[in-house]
């Protein structure tokens, strides 16, 4: 762009040189005239080419558009009435009394009537349809089509547009075609910007005269004489200078445009080019994006008073910014309506009704825009592996992501609120805590929500991806899993030593870790050591199992970083981002099957052709039987271990598994865990890495509980896989029977149950009596 502008300016200098010089002979004059004509001709050709490039080449850099996941509706879907309402609002559907067309909904008790927009997915088109969705406390009960009432197996709402990847010069737009531009928008433009648009040849002499007269009368500029065509070419020339040569260029190009293209083409170009707003570094271009930006719905669905506002913004998008200066914007909008009325586009009645409407601009942040900066950042990074940045910002690709806008909204709300609450109750400096939160689907690794700042709208340091912090006790499950994968040696009831550790490190220093309670607990059951997060028992176990197997387990669970084989690793001296921790716990949540965390499902090009799909893959990271034992142990953590506080914060029926993490001097507070269908990781700390004085259970755990409570979760089920048996054992870990006193049933990998028998069962059991159900 800049290059072209330069060339154009060069051209105009040449044109100026072509003016005849004085005191020259006729011959010279004639020669210069010929040269001038040639240059002018060449210049005209050059302008024509510029115009052609703009119109027929890649007219606009079309930013990639980023969509959330579509909401699936079916009988049995866990969608509450509150969620369904929110989802319909995300899509900009209008709530009405009676549904009469697409993008409308009505609700009566738990009975929603919804008329959807059609939408083209990567695997086919979802047609526009009217349906009745019945929602109860249990979720969606039924979906029936209107008017016939036949039951629908499943349907998808269109996905919400949540962002775009626009280029460095920050022009963002959503392309509209001429047919999508509402008549009342065109009429509004004619009324206030260019009355004779359909008659003039690009430059409107009469319009200029009229504007001049009006301005003289008013004593200030009240009307512009520029035609829509001139305004359009003004945007082609990016220099802001106000010179005669520029005016001349504009007029020339306007004439060329008019000569080459018909009015509809010009109108379409104008509608996509015009500047209509600014949000931070992002420039809102064209009515297509402006419709989303101000009203969160597509242009074709805007009503008269809404398009009138957009038309009003042409004159000065920042001066009339309806969010910052609503009164000014309202006056401007009504002036547009007045003009439309005066010029006969509206009846008095229509105009009056439109003037009575409120501005109706959606709240900032709710509108289509970068409302999920941290997630879009993740999408962008995943895309960069497969696409060039310039393609992402110019080719109009459509990116279908895994973002669950409902979960994202809940997560964003709880993080900031909970941190403020913690600061208040513990007397921590207001605003000093920071946090990150990741929620993913447990079984397939789709990232549903990602928050990188306590102010989720803030597009700054993305802690979910870039805060690489020691994970503390979150590493322990990997240590225990490495042990449990050797069933001949370790079971949940094996006794391990919680005794002092004193190691000489390679750097010559001594390493003498302690338990959190600074006590030594002696011989403890393996499951108890994990549930209570005993440091000494864990270090002893890890050293016995070996650092290499622990590291191998971490890598299998999805850690890609190199990990130093130092004993301190056993207590979490390994630094990871919240997203990386989420990968580890996803592998556990999925029963030992790792699915790489994905933010993208598919990418389509501008012509709706699929460029790429990111399929579901799984990889067995650990023996599912050993993972089952570990996961049961992690349930114990949340019921009677270090995270027992969770039970007060979650519904009784919601069984979850999880682990707290705290690092040295209480710098980082972590919680990672999962229900049957979601895995989530919360981190709380400070950007300057100073102590926050909070353990995992005091900082991150309440954040985690808040988000899990706010979203729907299936309780963890954990049905034992093949090869797992339950056996009764006494409190010393010896084989017993149900009739014995103080015994408990524990799961074992078949054959690994204790050999030693409790005093309670003297006789060897009859064959098969203790054989498990699942061998």
């Amino acid at each position: 762009m800049a290059k072209k502008t330069k060339r154009r300016r060069g051209g105009s200098r040449k044109a100026r040189k072509a003016r005849p010089a004085s005191r020259s002979g006729w011959r010279l004059l004639a020669g210069l005239l010929v040269l001038g004509a040639l240059l002018a001709g060449g210049y005209t050709l050059y302008l024509a080419k510029t115009v052609r490039v703009k119109f027929e080449g890649k007219r606009w850099a079309l930013p990639a558009q980023i969509y959330a996941r579509p909401l699936e509706l079916y009988a049995g879907a866990s969608v509450s009435a509150a969620q369904l309402k929110a989802e319909l609002r995300f899509l900009g559907y209008r709530e009405v009394g009676k549904v009469s067309g697409p993008a409308q909904w009505a609700v009566n008790g738990g009975r929603f009537t919804v008329h959807t927009r059609d939408f083209r997915f990567w695997d086919g088109t979802e047609p526009s349809q009217a349906v009745v969705v019945r929602v109860s406390a249990a979720g969606v009960d039924s979906i029936r089509s209107l008017p016939r009432g036949s039951e629908i197996d499943l349907m998808r709402l269109e996905p919400a547009l949540v962002g775009s990847i626009y280029p460095a010069h920050s022009e963002d737009r959503v392309l509209v075609r001429r047919a999508e531009i509402p008549d009342h928008l065109v009429q509004g433009l004619l009324a206030v910007e260019d009355r004779r648009f359909f008659e003039h040849a690009g430059v409107d002499i009469r319009g200029i005269a009229r504007a001049l007269l009006a301005n003289l009368r008013a004593g200030k500029t009240v009307q512009g004489g520029s035609t829509l065509t001139q305004q359009l070419v003004k945007n082609f020339i990016l220099t802001p200078e106000r010179s005669l040569s520029r005016k001349f260029n504009e007029a020339m190009m306007a004439l060329i445009v008019e000569a080459r293209y018909d009015k509809d083409e010009i109108l379409e170009a104008y509608a996509n080019e015009i500047f209509l707003g600014q949000e931070g570094a992002r420039a809102i271009h064209g009515f297509g994006l402006a419709a989303y930006f101000y009203f969160n719905r597509p242009l074709r669905e805007l009503r008269l008073h809404e398009t009138a506002l957009l038309v009003g913004l042409v004159k000065g998008a920042s001066y009339y910014n309806p969010r910052r200066h609503p009164q000014r914007a309202l006056q401007r909008r009504n002036l547009v309506i007045d003009q439309m009325q005066v010029q006969g586009f509206l009846t008095d009645q229509q105009a009056e009704a439109a003037r009575q409407q409120p501005l109706g601009v959606s709240a900032r942040g709710a509108a289509h825009g970068q409302r999920v900066p941290a997630f879009v950042d993740l999408v962008r990074r995943q895309l960069r592996r497969d696409y060039r940045e310039e393609d992402l910002t110019s080719e109009g690709m459509r990116i279908f992501t895994t973002l669950d806008p409902w979960v994202q909204q809940q997560a964003a709300a709880v993080l900031g609120a909970r941190l403020a609450k913690i600061e208040k109750s513990r007397g921590i400096g207001k605003g000093s805590l920071q946090g990150a939160l990741v929620v993913a689907a447990a079984q397939n690794g789709e990232v549903q929500a990602l928050i990188g700042d306590r102010d989720a709208d803030y597009a700054g340091f993305n802690r979910a991806l870039d805060a690489i912090r020691p994970i503390g006790s979150l590493v322990k499950p990997a240590v225990y899993l490495a042990a449990l994968q050797r069933p001949e040696k370790y079971t949940l009831t094996s006794l391990i030593d919680d005794r002092p550790v004193d190691l000489k490190m390679p750097n010559g220093k001594r390493w003498q870790p302690q338990n959190y309670d600074r006590k030594v607990h002696g011989s403890v059951a393996l499951h108890e050591a994990l549930a209570r997060s005993l440091n000494l028992a864990t270090v002893n176990l890890g050293l016995e199992v070996g650092l290499r197997p622990v590291i191998a387990t971490l890598h299998a669970l999805g850690v890609n970083r190199e990990i130093d084989p130092l004993p301190s690793l056993l207590l979490g001296a390994v630094s990871l981002s919240p997203l990386e921790v989420t990968q580890i716990y996803q592998s556990l949540a999925a029963g030992g099957f790792r699915s790489p965390l994905r933010a993208i499902r598919a990418v389509l090009d501008n012509a709706q052709q699929q460029l790429q799909r990111y399929p579901l893959t799984v990889a067995e990271a650990a023996d599912p039987a050993a993972v089952f034992l570990l996961n049961r142990n992690l349930v114990e953590v949340t019921e009677s271990g270090t995270a027992a506080g969770l039970r007060r914060q979650l519904p009784d029926a919601l069984t979850v598994a999880g682990k707290t993490g705290t690092t040295n001097d209480l710098r980082d507070s972590w919680f990672a865990g999962f229900s049957a269908d979601r895995v989530a990781v919360a981190w709380v700390g400070r950007d300057d890495n100073a102590s926050i004085g909070l353990t995992g259970a005091q900082g991150a755990l309440p954040v985690w509980a808040d988000v899990m409570r706010a979203i729907d979760n299936l309780p963890l089920q954990l049905t034992p896989p093949s090869g797992v048996e339950y056996h009764w054992v006494d409190r010393r870990g010896r084989l017993a029977a149900e009739r014995c006193e103080g015994v408990m049933a524990f799961p074992y990998i078949a054959g690994s149950q204790p050999r030693e028998r409790s005093d309670c069962i003297k006789q060897p059991a009859p064959g098969g009596f203790l054989r498990g159900l699942f061998d």
Binding site: A531, E620, S722, G742
Partner: protein, 197 residues
């Protein structure tokens, strides 16, 4: 609260679901697995006294506490007591997507079939039949690396009594391992498959 029988109920539930799918002409495999074991009819009798039922144990008053005492700790090791879906099962949606995937596979549109199955798996991620079907489609697409993992995932979720499903998964794994040049692994998988028949 008899948790062992709950486990069996879950099994029976899967079989019932299989039976329902079979009515739609797609769950025949699962149904045959249930019918073959003959257990789904009389679940309670199979377990009574034959296994260790992991019931919660309340220590008698005045006695020394159990391993770590609290009831909560004991409950952590209990198999689930609530039915697998506290809400209506998404059976219609899953059945519809499985049907669609079958049609797509039959017409040779394997990519579309994987998309439909992945969509179904988002709705019912713990349904082993879906993972098995996805493994089959990946097999038809000559992606043995994926087949091995998807079939293993299906096995991990499959009820141990779905012997037919286990067997079919192991057969898929055997073929995939052979395609990957792992003939020892393939023989081992065949042996496992046979052990379920």
């Amino acid at each position: 609260m008899n948790s062992a029988s709950d486990m069996i109920k879950t099994t029976a539930g899967r079989c019932r679901r299989g039976a329902r799918l079979a009515l739609l002409g797609i769950g025949a495999l699962m149904l045959s697995a249930c019918a073959g074991t003959g257990r789904s009819d009389r679940p309670a009798e199979v377990v009574e006294g034959a296994v260790v039922p992991p019931q919660p144990v309340r220590p008698a008053p005045g006695r020394s506490p159990a391993v770590s005492g609290s009831e909560a700790q004991i409950a952590a090791y209990m198999p689930p007591v609530q039915p697998s879906y506290a809400r209506p099962e998404p059976k219609r949606a899953v059945a519809a997507l499985m049907r669609r995937a079958e049609d797509q596979r039959a017409s040779g549109d394997l990519d579309a079939a994987t998309v439909s199955l992945e969509r179904a798996l988002r709705i019912a991620p713990d349904e082993p039949i879906l993972w098995h079907r996805l493994a089959e489609v990946r097999d038809a697409q000559h992606r043995p690396d994926l087949v091995v993992q998807l079939a293993a995932k299906s096995n991990a979720l499959a009820n141990p009594q779905d012997r037919q499903l286990h067997s079919d998964n192991w057969r898929l794994i055997a073929g995939a391992r052979r395609a990957l040049g792992d003939s020892d692994g393939a023989r081992e998988a065949e042996r496992r498959a046979a052990s379920y028949e």
